[in-house]
Amino acid sequence: MSHVRLSQVTKSFTRGRNGPRVVALDDVSLEVAKGEVFGVIGHSGAGKSTLIRLINGLETPTSGQVHVGDHEITALSERDLRGVRQDIGMIFQQFNLFRSRTIAGNVAYPLKVAGVAKAERDRRVARLLDFVGLLDRAHDHPEQLSGGQKQRVGIARALATEPSLLLADEATSALDPKTTAEVLDLLSRVNRELGVTIVLITHELDVIRAVAGRVAVMDGGRIAETGTVYDVFAHPRSTAAADFVRGALRDRPSPETVARLRRTHSGRIVTVGVQDRTGFQTALARTFLEHGVAAGVIFGGVGELQERAVGSLTFELTGPAEGIDAALATLRADGVDLTEEEG
């Protein structure tokens, strides 16, 4: 059952009063299932923030529909929308905490808005601060906290009304790697222990890798590719996805690397996509051997994505030309992803 659904959503902005039109989202459709962590990855300006802000109606699309649960967000009045927003939490890159309130006051704010009585409010605030590990900081003010702690307060505040959906807009982009990992762990717990659906946008593949189950890759206001994190990044079909993988894994040689390899290696150079099945590399080695081909790894790397092996290996192949051709043909027939590096 889908929790969030965008159907052919387009959003354009006009810069200034009569300025040029900017198409921030172009015919975007996607579905987020109940209880999943759905990632959206894209470079700056790809339209990610615009997309996430459509989900809680902070932005209205130029055309298309947005559904959250049973509500058609795009059909609601501002007044009805406010009620729906109380069931959607949101966290931000810059945390956006209220400086004028204490940590407890920040977390209590959405409860006040929702009209929850004081005693119940206090109870829930304490429970939430305990959940994010900041109960002892309840009476401090935001500027007394580190970035990671601030985002944990942001998460507690976003969860105050016990929403079923959490929107995270670059929630870890202002944090260092260690703190990022802590916040991402917390988000995973929110998803696992509280069953909250999470839509998370980021420009970092590592963030997607750490928490998301499925991902949409955005490029220039369009969705280039959607699928499980493993499928999209182990076997990218779009150049946008492939770019992110190359940037993060650095295992496919760039043209410059190929040229450099070429200078020091006289054999034929092929790059093989690693497959997540037992014996893959042994089978690879045996095929080369059977055709009298010597294969040496000269570039590449193997990593892990959703506990499955991903990566690529670049080999220098030496031996009789017909042997190499036969070996490559056999591998291709076996469905191995294989590219001979030109140049």
């Binding site: 809680n56 902070l58 929308l81 406010r82 009620g83 729906v84 927003r85 109380q86 959607i88 939490g89 949101m90 931000f92 810059q94 945390f95 956006n96 905490l97 209220f98 400086r99 004028s100 309130r101 704010y109 959405p110 808005v113 929702a114 003010h141 500027e143 505040r157 009304t161 929107l167």
Partner: protein, 219 residues
């Protein structure tokens, strides 16, 4: 000095008149200006309750009135004074003019201070499902409280200044006292003592404002 001492009762009365004029106009003008400033902030394009017609109307009104020098403003609004409070001279008339002048000055100070509030916190409040008016009063204003207090302090000093200028028009208060008992009689001791008291009032106001703002900013 002896002459000053013989005028002591008038001097005391003048101080009270200044407090009366400044107090009423800072409080009433402050509230009126707060309301105008909130309207300016909230109705501007892209803001919480953006409304072009209201914004443009109030904006033009403030732009027209605010730059008028106070002594000219005092004369220019005499018909309005007559209609509203029935007189155009004396302390009440000056207080009326001060209140309006303060309101227009405060409106801009408030507007500018609120614009500086991080749009991110407004976004967070909107995402929590809060109503625009509630966001304005329970998020935007508290977030800007420190600078708002400093803005009011600035206005307080300006109002003390304007109230003294009104002395030229027989408005009462320390300005009038310095003229009638001081400069017109070439009694410079009276003038200097009056100036010293005005400086004292301004300093006290500035000190209190700074202290309150520091508390609000927790610095």
């Amino acid at each position: 000095m002896d002459e000053f001492l013989t005028n002591l009762p008038e001097f005391r009365a003048a101080i009270w008149q200044t407090f009366y004029m400044v107090g009423i106009s800072v409080v009433l003008g402050g509230l009126l200006g707060l309301a105008l400033g909130l309207v300016l902030y909230a109705t501007r394009p892209g803001s919480l309750m953006s409304n072009r017609a209201v914004f443009v109307g109030v904006n033009i009104l403030v732009n027209v009135v605010r730059p008028i020098p106070f002594v000219i403003f005092l004369m220019a609004i005499q018909p309005l004074m007559k209609a509203m409070i029935g007189t155009t001279i004396g302390t009440d008339a000056v207080t009326f003019a001060l209140t309006l002048a303060a309101a227009f000055a405060v409106s801009r100070v408030i507007e500018q201070t609120l614009i500086a509030v991080d749009p991110g916190v407004v976004e967070a409040a909107r995402a929590a499902g809060a109503r625009p008016l509630s966001i304005l009063l329970t998020v935007v204003v508290p977030e800007a409280l420190g600078p708002v207090i400093l803005g009011y302090t600035f206005i307080f000093v300006a109002v003390v200044d304007m109230s003294a200028q009104a002395g030229l028009f027989g408005g009462g208060g320390l300005g009038s006292f310095a003229i009638t008992h001081g400069s017109q009689r070439y009694n410079w001791v009276v003038v200097y003592i009056t100036v010293a008291v005005i400086i004292l009032i301004v300093q006290a106001g500035q000190f209190a404002g700074n202290a309150l703002a520091r508390r609000a900013l927790r610095r």
